[in-house]
Amino acid sequence: MSQQRNMLTGGLGLTLRNWPALVWTYVFNLGLAWLFTLPLNKQINAITAHSLASGRLTGAFDLGTMAEVFLKLSKGPGAATPGTYFSTPIYLALYFLLVPGTLFCYQTGTPARLFTLLKSGLDHFWRFFRITLISLVVFAVVLGGLHALQNVWSDHVDQRIVGRPAFLLELAGLVIIGLVAALLRLYFDLVQVYTVHLGQLSYPVEAESKRRPERQIRRTFRPAWRTCRRNFLRAYATFLFLTLLGLAAVVLTARAAIHSLAQPRVWPMFLLAQLGLFLMLLTRFWQRGAETILVLDNPMPVPVAVVPAPAVPEEIFPAPTDPEPVPDEPAPEHIENEEVKDRSSVDPPEYSI
């Protein structure tokens, strides 16, 4: 440990160098959204295309007319269009594959081709699936508790204060929940980065048959926690800054898009909305890049593999970016020596990928 590269610039560099990952993700999201919106577009077109009443949605934007369109849709045959909502789960499934691939490309410099992204995603599928389950549990417990507290706080405020001060006080509670959510997300992001990082390490061939994803994931929790703790300020500040940057981009472009609603053309609104969504996605990938920089600067300590034949564990891998350990840095903690020793006495190494 090591050099402390700038997370923002380093992360941005990684994101831009691996731009196909970002673009593929964006294209999937856009494509799915439009694919599943096409039936709705067709239904709306059937109502409005040949009607003079739709003039109030052409050179103007009359909310009553818009509401009438959706009222008609809700009452018409087959109008509920439940399929319209399917784009989000399908996108999430794809995103589930694209994220590990993206992290893999960020860490290895492998060109971010779609095939590479998806193959790596499939390779890491079960690990990320488990991480997601664990993160959902943690999110539910922590944020659920905070949500309950927020309700209490909100009731407390509501009973005593009204108007803008009440709004700001309740907003403060929500901001705290948001900050905690961001912290949790940062931590699990790091777990994901370390998981992919761990996958870069090569292991004895005989261990291949002993893949145990849950143990590999478990092994990443402590380094993620340690890295998060030791680099808390810059990591958290970077994460929050990029989150706010993404949200600001969406809010500003959405506002500008709304202001173009009354124009008799659609492309300005489309471009503005897409610009905001793209920038929001960019900042998320930027966060991933920044986290990768952080992990590469704080690599997992070299695992010590113990093979059955030689009694003495053999160090197999050098640390990817930290070839010269800092002398006064404490020994790696995440793989407890005792644990390894204990295992070595009964099991072959199981940290292969």
Partner: protein, 669 residues
Amino acid sequence: MMAVLAAAAPVAIAQSIATNSPGPLSTRVVSYDIEARLDTDRKSLDAIETITYKNLTGQPLSSIPFHLYLNAFRPQSTFTRETHFTGGIRDSESEDDYPDEKLGSITISKISADSYGDLTGGMHFTAPDDGNMEDHTVAEIALPHPLAPGGAITFHLAFHDQFPLSIARNGYKRDFIMGGQWYPKPGVFWHGAWNCHQYHATTEFFSDFGTFHVQLTVPNRYVVGASGVPTGNRANPDGTKTLGFYGEDIGDFAFAASPHFTVTDGTYASSMGPVQVHVLALAAHPAAGPRYRDIILKTLAEFDRRFGPYPYKIVTVIDPEPGSEIGGMEYPTLFTGATSWYEPTYLTEITAEHEFGHQYWYGMVATNEFEDAWLDEGINSYTEVNVLDAILGRNTSVLNRPYANAGDYEMQRLEYASTPDFDPVTHWAFQFRNAASYDDVTYGKSATLLATLESIVGRDTMDEAMHTYFMKFRFTHPTTEDFLRTIEQVAVARGRATVFPVADACAGLTGCIADVPPVNSSLRPYIDQAVYGTQVLDYSVDSASSSPVQWWLPEPKDKNAKKNLPYLSTIYLRRKGDFVLPMTVEIVFDDGTRVREHWDGADRWKKLTYVRNASVVSAEIDPDHAVLLDVDMFNNSYTTKANGIPARKLANMWASMQQFIAQLASWIV
């Protein structure tokens, strides 16, 4: 303020301290004298009430029913039962428990009457609407001997109120207390019988006109607004103050108390004299006071010009606590608004205008809100749209932004279109299918059918009819037929309708009672369908197309040659609903000519054909957009050239929203 009012006094010298009228405006059936003490900590009130009731019924009365509305806020009541199972127009009470803080009650500990003695033992609860003896919102006092016609009885009551955490229209929220329907009030002897309905989830109120002397004791820090005019303020040694109020020619009395009110006043010089606009807005809503005052000053002017003068000397606007179920409620000379610390639309103005409108349609034209809810809420929604159109613009009276707009008339129409045909507007308020149908039909359909009627008879005729109706029936209790026949009379007089030599259209209809004789005008078919019926009005242009008459010849490529080519244009019209109404159709051709046709609308479809050297561009039913009762505006026209922009706009919004949701959701991965 009174000095200002006096300086602006009109020619006529007002005799009353409460109105600008030199004499009584109503038949004052009841006189109330109430001394009440409000416990703002316990949210309760103790009072002594003296009621003098005049028997103007022309017959002896052996019992008198009283409304005890606060007893509705109990799980056993009809109000709560209906609210729980079919929805309420305010708090839904959909949970399976009933919290203690929502319990409300009114308890008469003693009642006696001069020359009748103690009547407490003769009091018993009744349930005239549904037989629910646990309801307790109506009590009947049996008299030991009948009250003779022309006689009067003076009751003396002691009662205790427990206000609930607000559920509908009254109660408390934080330290704000709304005293609405808070005292025992006799029913109305109307059309030969007592009319004293139970309190229902969707019903409002009905009462006789009278006078009110009210003394209300509250803690010193409280600011109080009430019906009528303030008559005095006395400080008490126990840290309280006693405020006096007097109202006359009103049918109810309400008050609102809060330590957070700020006062904003204005004065309107009406045709009868000055009117004080007295706004009590929460300090947390600093913009509310001026907004309420400004819209009410403009509204007063519109109502004065259109319908007739506002005769009272004051109108008090209450800004209730946010989160309460008290906003947007009318009482005589007092109403509650609804706003927020951030309110970028005109909803503040719409609510204030609507509730002020009830001073006319409920307050003065005191229709039975249990049985003819559309006569107050519906007419009021109709006048609301017209008044706000005049003040804020037709298409911008809800929202006026460069990038988007919304008009109140369209909101009313949408409300109607969402539930157009479950109930006629004339259903009794508690007999609607559910609260949503009551809401959509009573407000939305009524406003829309009257706007359509206005387009049929003309704006001027309708304005005159509304003015006539108000001036004739103010301070009385008119019925649906009184209103409709007044419109017919005016329309016939102005030549906008003809008289049909047919039998009374009212004959055979339950409860069809009116002081106005039948007119049987040409408006009746519309009235029967729109008011008494549930027919749905939906006309459409199914198709519009043009083909060369000599279709077998090749079409010339030269534009000029095309112009000289005769085309056969065919338009198919269709009546999709069961509502029959004559319709105007406009056909536009590509040489710029416009042709208007009349269709009686009776058949299910109609075909229009034209042979001319031009092809059809568009065909539109109701080209003046006057028949707002048509549930589908989109199929009223057909253009031969498609316009894909609206669909792309809405689809783009939808897709972008889906993308945004997907990206947010990806935070869990």
